[in-house]
């Protein structure tokens, strides 16, 4: 069964005006969350916001019933969520969607995140450690201020960084990082989440190198749990719901115009 419940805001940490992590307390035991799962957040009392908003689950603390999200301000809803106060109630539905494949056959994996696309990778990092898989995180952003949570990622693997303005890590887009042209480049799997062009570029590289690549897609969702058919993406087997058969897809399964 899914959780549909009001959650109490217990912490909001701003990294910049446009990035924050919000943590909430669940009134019930949190069911097992898999890396890539997301939640639908109801944003109350916000003019112009009618539907829920989907967010990847950043982290969970099962013991203390805490769940957190990393939010990047895009519009009305994402701005308003960050204005909640400690103690306010927010209605959540989760866990939604499928999750990233974690295979104990893998030895080394590359995890590529851009923007709010890093959100599902804390939970993925934990799974990697649990399964003895060596993870490398490649995090990209426009500038230094967009690169957050690197200390957290460092707990689960190596962290590489690119920024478009060169203010942190290598200068350029994630796909221009030297790791891709390094002779030591040898990964069993690549995971990517971020803006579409970034995921497509990563998928192309993966294809060239014949490495399995899983991407987590964004999409405009009305429901988030499979009943409206608004969120489809074209696949080898026809249109699939990003919220139910996704958001994680093997990149070769997608009919992307790459």
């Amino acid at each position: 069964m899914k959780v549909v419940a009001d959650h109490k805001v217990v912490n909001i940490q701003y990294f910049s005006e446009e990035n924050y992590v919000i943590q909430m307390e669940s009134p019930v035991d949190i069911p097992k969350i898999k890396p890539g799962n997301f939640a639908e957040i109801k944003v109350d009392n916000t003019p112009g916001v009618f539907l829920r908003r989907p967010f990847s689950i950043l982290d969970v603390d099962y013991e203390n019933k805490l769940i957190s999200f990393y939010v990047k301000v895009i519009g009305k809803g994402t701005r308003y969520i960050g204005l909640y106060e400690i103690g306010d109630q927010i209605n959540l539905i989760y866990p939604l969607g499928n999750s990233f494949t974690v295979s104990d056959k893998d030895r080394k994996v590359l995890i590529v995140g851009g923007g709010s696309g890093i959100a599902p990778f804390i939970l993925l990092g934990k799974e990697m450690v649990k399964n003895g898989i060596e993870a490398t995180f490649l995090i990209g952003g426009r500038s230094q201020r967009d690169i957050i949570l690197t200390k957290e990622f460092a707990k689960y693997g190596d962290v590489l960084v690119t920024t478009e303005d060169g203010s942190l890590g290598e200068k350029g887009l994630v796909t221009q990082h030297s790791v891709f042209i390094s002779p030591q480049f040898k990964y069993d799997r690549i995971y990517a989440c971020g803006p579409d062009p970034m995921m497509k570029a990563v998928a192309i590289i993966a294809q060239q190198k014949e490495i399995t690549c899983e991407v987590s897609l964004e999409n405009t969702m009305a429901c988030g749990f499979g009943i409206c058919l608004c969120c489809v993406t074209a696949t080898q087997e026809g249109n699939k719901r990003v919220c139910l058969e996704g958001p994680v897809f093997n990149s070769r399964y997608l009919k992307w115009q790459i």
Binding site: R52, M221, C223, L229, C230, C231, G238, N239
Partner: protein
């Protein structure tokens, strides 16, 4: 506990709260939220004769107190429904009503004929009002002669309860209702979505891939209520009210205007438990106002 049972034609519904076609999938996904047998009925996602991929992305736009959709009747076709979906839902203790679509009268007939044999599909809802695709039949639903033609044809091949779903995109809804009643409809459901459009001013592009789409949600409730009320005074068959119902108060308004049952649509997206809450709320209202049965308030509006 007030008596929530209502009758639509010769079918008894345990309560008047059903869910609208296209806003509840085929029920399967929603079983993760609650026991579907608690519902009065489930109008499943629109069915067509063949597999349809629907429209390309983007299919959705948020609007003030509502949304536009351009799903375009994505479904795997009637045969897939019969072989792979029906077996999973036929055990439910609620009415399963198939939403029938076609781009020609023949297609409507073909789909309907295949549904005749499904014991647990106790009624069909003839969708002559989907604004999104030719197959959705809005062209049938906006002129009397064609609405009569398709209803009449289906009436001839379908013996169980025939519900016809009307489009609000017409000048005279009462006239449409009388037309399909005359052609043999056992019940009328309304409204389907209003044809609307949304634009991204920054990109100077329509938000939907199809440019226009169907408007649903609370924004359309005043139009839906008005049409239910007009149709209630135009026909004798029971009416199933639809349009922006978010809570029990909204549902009560539709009963007062003349609906015998209601469909919860877009509300399911925002609160998957909405229909259960509405059932409870109707009961609470009836008790508070000392009505024994929901039937007492159908059409009770004092004008």
């Amino acid at each position: 506990m007030a008596d929530l049972k209502v009758k639509i034609h010769n079918l008894e519904f345990k309560n008047p709260v059903t869910v609208a076609s296209g806003t509840f999938g085929f029920g399967e996904e929603m079983a993760e939220f609650f026991d579907l047998s608690l519902l009065g009925g489930i109008f499943v996602k629109g069915l067509t004769i063949k597999n349809r991929e629907g429209h390309v992305y983007p299919r959705m736009a948020e609007t003030p107190s509502g949304m536009l959709n351009a799903v375009g009747l994505q479904n795997k076709g009637i045969d897939y429904f019969i072989d792979h979906i029906y077996p999973n839902i036929k055990h439910l203790d609620t009415h399963i009503i198939a939403n029938v679509n076609g781009s020609t009268v023949e297609e409507y007939i073909e789909v309907t004929e295949k549904l005749n044999d499904l014991e647990k599909v106790t009624a069909i809802e003839l969708n002559i009002s989907c604004p999104n695709v030719k197959e959705g039949g809005m062209l049938f639903g906006i002129s009397c002669p064609s609405a009569i033609a398709v209803t009449d044809a289906i009436r001839k091949v379908y013996k169980k309860t025939l519900i016809v779903k009307l489009s609000p995109n017409v000048t005279d809804i009462a006239e449409m209702a009388r037309a399909v009643e005359g052609a043999g409809a056992d019940s009328i459901s309304l409204i389907n979505t209003l044809l609307g459009m949304a634009i991204n001013a920054e990109k100077r592009k329509p938000i939907l891939s199809t440019i226009t789409g169907g408007l649903s949600g609370p924004a359309i409730k005043p139009v839906a209520l008005r049409m239910v009320w007009q149709v209630y005074h135009a026909v004798k068959v029971p009416i199933i009210g639809i349009g922006g119902i978010m809570n029990a108060t909204d549902a009560i308004e539709f009963f007062l205007a003349g609906s015998s049952a209601i469909q919860v649509g877009t509300a399911n997206f925002i609160d998957p438990m909405a229909s259960l809450k509405i059932i409870d709320g109707i009961n609470e209202y009836l008790n508070r106002h000392s009505f024994q049965s929901v039937n007492e308030i159908i059409g009770l509006l004092e004008t």
